[in-house]
Amino acid sequence: MCETKLGAVPDGALEKVTITDFVDELVAALVTLRLYDRKHARSRSRIIELKRLHEQLVKAIPEGSLVLATTEGFVLYEDRPLLGASMGAKKLVDPLVARNSGGLEFRRELGDNDLEVLLELLGGPVEDKTHELANMRLRMNGCQGIGFLPPYQIGMHSARGQVRLSSGADSGLAEPGLLLPMQRRQRIVDSLQGASINAARGGIVDLQEIQSVAQLLCDSVRKDPGEVQNMVRYERYDAYTFGHSVRVCALALSFASHLTDDLSLLVRIGSAGLLHDIGKMRIASEVLHHRGRLSPEQRAEMERHTDFGSAILLAQKDIDEIAVTVSHGHHRNLDGSGYPADPLGTPQSMVTRLIKICDVYEALTAVRPYNGAMSPMKAFRLMLECPGAFDPGLLRKFMRTMGCYPVGSAVELSDRTHARVLQSTDDLVRPVVQLEHADSGEELDARDRRTIDLSAPVNRGLDVHRLLEIGRLQTELAAIGDSAPDSSPELSQAA
């Protein structure tokens, strides 16, 4: 197991350090050292945290080194893919691939500067084309505790006495069903990370890349609205700030595709959704990642992210005006309240209003590591209780499109049968459902799975009793599993 619980507290609230934490921190440190000098306080704190995690992890390992392998875009530990860590680890995997290396070995005792040397090497230009040369460079710089491993091969790490090969893991990695979605996620994260880093540096954001990611998401949403939402629901993935932006983007695209067929406009909306929080890159991390109620000063600082966002985007050549307006105005209410203050009450574009709705809805219904999700119904209630905040006509359309029971959700009907929502209707709480389980709990055969339009007068006696689960389950599973790369243009493009 790659989890260790340390620093016990008598009442049971134990600190939990996982290998995924370590990989996340490694990637974060890599990103930080690309932004800041190694002596900068932020870089120092990252490295200290990384060292701490390393120490705690090796304590949990009885013997040997800590080995992280990489292959096919995945990060592996004990020859197993790390699902959450792999999603955001392109920044780590790419430099290793460029050096023809299959992973990193962290010895139990690290030197004082080992991690700094490694991070600088990984973050810098690739001068060594092989892992041997990279190792030589590490040694030349005084790094003795970390090494680049040769290209990943099955059983390679068994010889090192670290892990043994598990039969199932290797066989799945190269398969397109797993590889392509993972690469797609990595690309989205990588693009957003790149844009954010450049934004924080005051550099140029690759708008073309953002647009192509938006195009990718647009294709996915049009093909299957639930897939993208599920794609970013993994908890570890949500640890990244980018998860929210991707979900808002997907929500906006999903909603907007009901309002327009203009593909170019959809891509513009998608780009705006991806970039709407880019100003947060200029917010101090201690404020941005603060858990709990913000102090007035912290809140004021946080509220500046809209100013920063529009400033960053205005500085970009050929920036789409929609992205600028969305970034600036997505926290401003329809009645002029909100922030940033606008004494003139400049009217907002419909796209800004749309993104605002999606932003709030996502924030309310998202699964957070530190907070439970809110049901769509509760979220709608809250949104309706703020009459001046949203465009009422647009909110109506949004509620109508999403429904209180989103497509793919599992619900229990008033006759105790279980069903899955297929389609929303004009009646907010009466979607079209397909029965899946009988009232006894027995799963129904395919021929018995009736489709029921609860909004039809004949079905008035049947209600949705409760929402069991949000999102899509088995339907996407089969679709993604069966999608070969040549049969799905957008997947091929992503690959």
Partner: protein
Amino acid sequence: MQAGWAELAAVHRCIWRRSEAVQTPKVAPILPIQAARKGFRRSVSIHPAAEGPVSQGSVADVELVRCLAVLAKASFAYQHHSRRVVDALATFQAGLREWMQPSGQPFVLEIRPDGAHAPSGRIPPSPVTDWLREMLQRSLVGALHFDAALTDGALLQFLDRLRTTGFGKQRKEAAFASNWPDTYEGLRLRELKFAGGFHALDVGSDPTGLTLLETLAGESEQRRSALVRLGLSAESMHRILTIERRIGGPATRETATEWLSLPDELLAALPADVLDDSKAREQFAERMLDELEKALDAADGAGPAAEATAADPLQLFRRVARTLFVSQARRAQVPVDGAAPAALPHRPEDGANALEGAAELVALFEALPSQEIALMPAAAALQTELAGICLFHLSADGDAFATGPAAAKLREVLDQGPTAGANILEQYVLHEFDPGSSNLPDAAVESVFRKLGQFQLLPALRSHGGLSSERVIRHFPNGFVLFLKALAPNAAADAAALKSVLGGLDETALAAGSRQLLQSGELLQPVMLRKLLAIGERQSIELVRHLLRGAPAGVYEEIAHWLKQLDLDCAEAVPLALYKPARLPAAYVQLMCDLVSTGRTDPLLDPIAGDLLRNFIATTPNEERTLELKQKAILALWAFPGPASLELLKTQLRGRGLLGSLRVPRPIRDAAVQVMTSWKEQRHV
């Protein structure tokens, strides 16, 4: 091989049909669907676990186990000599001694699938005892026997080892023997064994449990270890074995390419971080089993091709496992009635019944207006919104990062046409004219205009911002300086606009306005004054005259400079050419302005102008470089006759010293003679 699987599938179909009819099956494992499973999980095809009545542990047992757990936690966190550990150890030892006092029997703590068991019965679940149970389970400890010989040292030694084995990475090859190589005085450990649960006793008389026992009797240690490692509930383990029986399991080892051992495959397929999380592990395993059963069902009900697929269940399972984690990386939380984790903050309203207020929600929804949505923003509206954002950044002080790009973008917007961004810009201009007309902060407006000037964007106000002549006249002096700033120096239209403004101001407005302008002082800056005079030319003189009434010295200098440039054709204006502007008296400049404005010479002007001329003639030596100016001054003196002037000219003709008259330059002498002759003829003298 295919034939074998097809036969099995046919048998299964047959069994399934019969099971639906709730008949007693001849094949033991396949039995009716279990009802009332939690959540939305697919039911399994086995008997519900028929657990016999389990007695609850006595209060003393529960307390003793709790003390042990507290001691374990304390020893994990603190040094052995710390107060917490010492106290916890003493409490546990005292409790143990008290417990063993009557009978002398050892105290046994057993780990079973349904929880920890003490001699008197099951220990009710609680966070602390569950934690201890999890620790022991992870360390492959099935039971602990405490007897009277237990020493403090042995117990602490055991807990140290428990920490090593229970925390962190649990090695796949971990075994009880390797985990617990040592012996502890007074404490005996029993290995955790899987036998339809973790202990044979918990199976009771359940026929399914007995079948499990039988099934596992001949299985390998690796397989048992995998089941233990998965740490699934007894229900899930039953399900695994049922599915294995369904697909044939060991019976088809000879026919299938590779036998599917579900525990091993599950263990191999789960990602490391999922495997690491006990909740996620159970959830993902259940989902995999769901999918596998679904795939098997599909194969059963489909044609020969599907059956052929099902004939290799190993590949079928691996295909399911391969695709599961990406499409269902994490199942969404059940938001309505799924309780948030106890240790985390949660929104209390999430626990509310979803139906509560549904009707009210629908009513609120219906009250929302239904309208057509045009998503594509109109170009003009978008430009206006963008201009507003640019002006927002220009109105904020201190963020130089945004100023340049905002100004550049505003220029782009304004270049696109006269209407783009006009409305927003006009709001700022209107505020300048009438500060009470908008909510804009004065500082913001001032900052915007300052930065617009800095980036040469002020001229756009004339074409886009409503900075018209009429408004300037109406609101004078408000906006006049801004208007002046927005004028292009060499544009004829702008000059005409300024002249029309200056011409449109009556005396009253000028008098009142100039006082305000004097107070603000902005117009009195040399640059502004110069621009006013340069563009407004003589039209600006009225305003200038008013300004001069309270203006500082520098203003006079500028105006004198301007008067000089007017090249006025009168004798009173000659001093302007002779003196530097700073050396001219304010009264002279003032009177000269009056002269330019009215065309009439003030009686006070002549003496001043004459004095200036006489002073210049008297103090200027007859040198080559000043000869022309002096001659000009002498000729201009003609307009100011009088004894002083006559005496001065005579003095100039006499020169200095003996034969000085011979050294007077000819131009000076001629000019003086000419002026004196003229005076004589006109009898001025």
